[in-house]
């Protein structure tokens, strides 16, 4: 506030100084102009009265007499001059004129009146005055000239007096002089003889006594009045400025400060300013500005809050997306037939790339690497759909080709955003190493053969998914042998760009991969990522970078096929699907011997099919194992008991939840029905895990 006051004081001060200077200027100029004009008017007045005196004197002067006097004086030499002078002075005519002039001078208050000739004895006009008459103010205490006395002509009058002699006319100039006593003015008038010739001049000098005082008074009044007026105007103006300028400006300043301090609260003080000038306009503009800023800030606050909310949600989305991708490695610690590792580095918060891998049953591993067109949230949403569909269909035992085709059709159904996705899908049959795969517009995989080099695996591509309905996909097979590796990736790898706009490219990628032949899957990806990072350096990452690496190690050798049928009632054999029929035949034979009804035989066949195939599929994950089936009749021959024994992983099929049999076809899971069917058709079912063995016993009455 102090600052504002200072500033406002400054404004008043500036205005006051300005007015002061203006006032001074006006006073000085009016003084100067007044002084000059006043002087000239007064001086002219005095001068005119000097001339009037001269002309009055002229009435009593006889030009021829004066001529006579001058001739007599000029003719006299320096010795005779005093006597000639005295002679002239004694003459009556001279005395008469001298008296007249004396009275005139006295009555007119002239300094002096004189008659003199400027000519010398030769008649030439010079600078010396030869006096004839001289009437002085006795107070001056200066002796008057007598006829014949001379004095130097006042030099400033010389040109004018010459002019007078030549023309016989008075000069247009006014004669002024300054003496110790003050300002004087003179009139010089020619005296002519009867022939009109100038024979002498009469001079009258008047003191301009009133001039000086009047002038001083004038200046005093002017200064005093000017100063008073200036002060008054400054005073009035300062009040005006304070009311109409400083106060509104202070209000505006305070309001602006209050606006800032009170967090954009707008008061109505500004609208009260009604000076009707630019300041009111300014107040109006500032008020408008305050309102605008207020609403902008409100809007901005909302937008910021919204953005923060979206940001927070995006973070959640990022986490959800990351959580969707299998990210716990090793992913299948119990499987030593293969190693798999994958990574995804999104370019934005959420990306369109994804990888996936999952088991289909016990023997098959599905792998997906895909890239949804576009980035950000839309791509991420599409990615979720695609990933889910792919997994669902692949796990529903559809082939690779069928999976892609079905997913394509599903994605096309409601693809208004016209997004698409490139997918590489492969399903590895773990025991055989047969990899069935299809490429829907995706990058070619890179294959490493044990002891060789990584090479791009070029195969024909199908059309991208979600691009067009009912597109056919091509399936192809790769036989993986132990030690082989497969590297899958998205275009974020090959299209990684450095600051010089160069692409990383497949060539660099394969070269980098070949440095990793001895590394495990995790390190393969790490080394490759480092190579990409080195190449890209400081350039920003444009696309998601997704990589997946599979190393196939193969299955340990099968146990020797040893299907020795120890007895008619017990069968021990390799727990493989090929042996299901053997078990069924074995049971059929035993049941026939027991005279079991056809329906029971069939039901037991189904039970064996379900249970033994389950054991074959799931009991032994690492290496093949054996299973034993014992069949024996109830003691009273009213039924039969079948016992299945294996040394596989502990698994109680009775704990498995029953499927919901009321769902529609589309909602039903494919599979999971086997044990349920057995439960329904058998009369008895028991499970125990004993001595490292799964023992499952089923009973059926005839």
């Amino acid at each position: 506030m102090d600052n504002e006051k200072k500033r406002c004081k400054k404004i008043s001060f500036k205005f006051a100084v300005g007015f002061l200077i203006l006032g001074l200027f006006v006073i000085i100029s009016s003084c100067v102009v007044g002084y000059i004009k006043y002087t000239s008017v007064i001086a002219k007045m005095y001068n005119d009265s000097a001339y009037r005196i001269a002309h009055t004197a002229m009435e009593s002067i006889d030009g021829d007499l004066i001529e006579e006097y001058t001739e007599r004086i000029h003719q006299a030499n320096s010795k005779t001059l005093p006597s000639v002078s005295r002679k002239i002075q004694s003459e009556d005519a001279y005395q008469e004129l001298l008296d007249t002039l004396t009275i005139l001078r006295k009555s007119m208050k002239a300094n002096y009146i004189y008659i003199a000739d400027q000519r010398d004895a030769a008649g030439k006009v010079g600078s010396t005055l030869t006096y004839l008459f001289d009437v002085d103010n006795p107070e001056d205490d200066v002796p008057a000239f007598v006829p014949g006395d001379t004095s130097k002509m006042n030099e400033s009058f010389l040109a004018d007096s010459n002019y007078i002699y030549e023309t016989g006319k008075r000069s247009d100039n006014y004669f002024y002089s300054h003496s110790d006593f003050g300002y004087n003015t003179s009139a010089i008038v020619p005296i002519q003889n009867s022939d009109g010739q100038v024979v002498a001049i009469i001079g009258v000098e008047l003191a301009m006594k009133t001039l000086q005082n009047a002038r001083m008074e004038y200046i005093l009044y002017t200064v005093a009045l000017g100063a008073a007026l200036t002060a008054f105007i400054i005073f009035l103006f300062l009040i005006y400025i304070k009311q109409k300028v400083i106060r509104p400006i202070n209000i505006i300043t305070e309001e602006a400060e209050a606006f800032v301090n009170n967090e954009t609260e707008v008061s109505d003080r500004l609208s009260q300013i009604s000076t009707g000038d630019e300041i009111q306009q300014m107040a109006g503009s500032i008020l408008q500005m305050e309102h605008d800023i207020g609403s902008y800030i409100k809007e901005l606050t909302q937008v910021t809050a919204e953005r923060e909310r979206i940001g927070a949600e995006l973070n959640v989305a990022t986490r959800i997306q990351a959580d969707m991708l299998p990210s716990i490695f090793p992913a299948f610690p119990e499987r030593d037939e293969f190693d798999i590792y994958a990574s995804m580095v999104p370019a934005k918060e959420v990306g369109g790339d994804f990888y996936d891998f999952f088991m289909i049953g016990e023997d098959r591993l599905a792998m997906v690497v895909a890239d949804v067109s576009g980035k950000g949230v839309p791509a991420a949403l599409f990615m979720v759909i695609t990933k889910t569909l792919l997994k669902n269909y692949a796990q529903n035992d559809l082939s690779v080709k069928e999976t892609l085709e079905t997913v394509n059709d599903k994605l096309c159904e409601n693809n208004k955003a016209e997004m698409f996705v490139t997918v590489w899908l492969g399903i590895l049959d773990i025991p055989s190493g047969k990899l069935t795969c299809a490429n829907a517009g995706h990058e070619d995989p890179v294959l490493y053969r044990q002891g060789q080099q990584y090479e791009l695996l070029k195969n024909k591509h199908g059309f991208v998914l979600a691009g067009m309905e009912h597109m056919r996909q091509r399936e192809y097979e790769i036989q993986l042998n132990p030690g082989d590796k497969l590297f899958l990736y998205t275009d974020g790898v090959v299209e990684a760009t450095n600051a010089n706009e160069e692409l990383y490219g497949a060539e660099r990628m394969v070269k980098a991969l070949n440095k990793t032949v001895d590394a495990d899957t995790e390190h393969t990806l790490a080394i490759l990522k480092e190579d990409i990072d080195q190449f890209v350096a400081d350039a920003p990452q444009f696309d998601d970078i997704t990589m997946l690496c599979l190393k196939y190690k193969g299955v340990g050798k099968n146990m020797e096929q040893d299907s020795e049928t120890s007895s008619a009632k017990e069968l021990t054999l390799d727990a493989s699907l090929e042996n299901v029929q053997a078990v069924v035949d074995f049971a059929e034979e035993a049941l026939e011997a027991m005279n079991a009804p056809i329906k029971v035989r069939t039901q037991i066949n189904i039970a064996i099919d379900e249970i033994f195939s389950n054991i074959a599929r799931y009991a032994y994950t690492e290496a093949a194992g054996m299973a034993t089936v014992r069949i024996e009749p109830f003691a009273d021959q009213s039924g039969v008991t079948l016992t299945f024994v294996d040394q596989g992983i502990p698994y109680n099929p009775l704990e498995k939840e029953d499927p919901d049999v009321t769902l529609s076809a589309d909602e039903r899971e494919i599979g999971g029905l086997g044990i349920f069917m057995v439960k329904k058709s058998m009369d008895e079912m028991q499970y125990e895990y004993k001595d490292g063995q799964n023992v499952l016993r089923i009973g059926k009455r005839f």
Binding site: D397, V584, T602, I606, E610, A665
Partner: protein, 100 residues
Amino acid sequence: MKIIGKKDGAQLDIKLEGRLDTTTAPELETYLGENFTEDVSELFFDFDSLAYISSAGLRILLSAQKKMNSRSGTMKFKNVNELIMDIFDAVGFVDIFTIE
């Protein structure tokens, strides 16, 4: 198991003889993969000579039904024996399948 199929335009007739179990189910899966193409909108199974079905068979049938649903086609079973009917009943497939 024996698969006797007849394809006539959009109609595919399949007659199964024997057992549809773990061992034989892949045969049917392969057969359907080849013949139950997208142009097929009517699929008829004749189970007159089919002894029984295990869950491996059921999953193929369910898969076929889903596929058919997605293309709004018709899939029907005829001559289903008592045992298979019991199985269909037990697993709730009687509500899903059209059985004549």
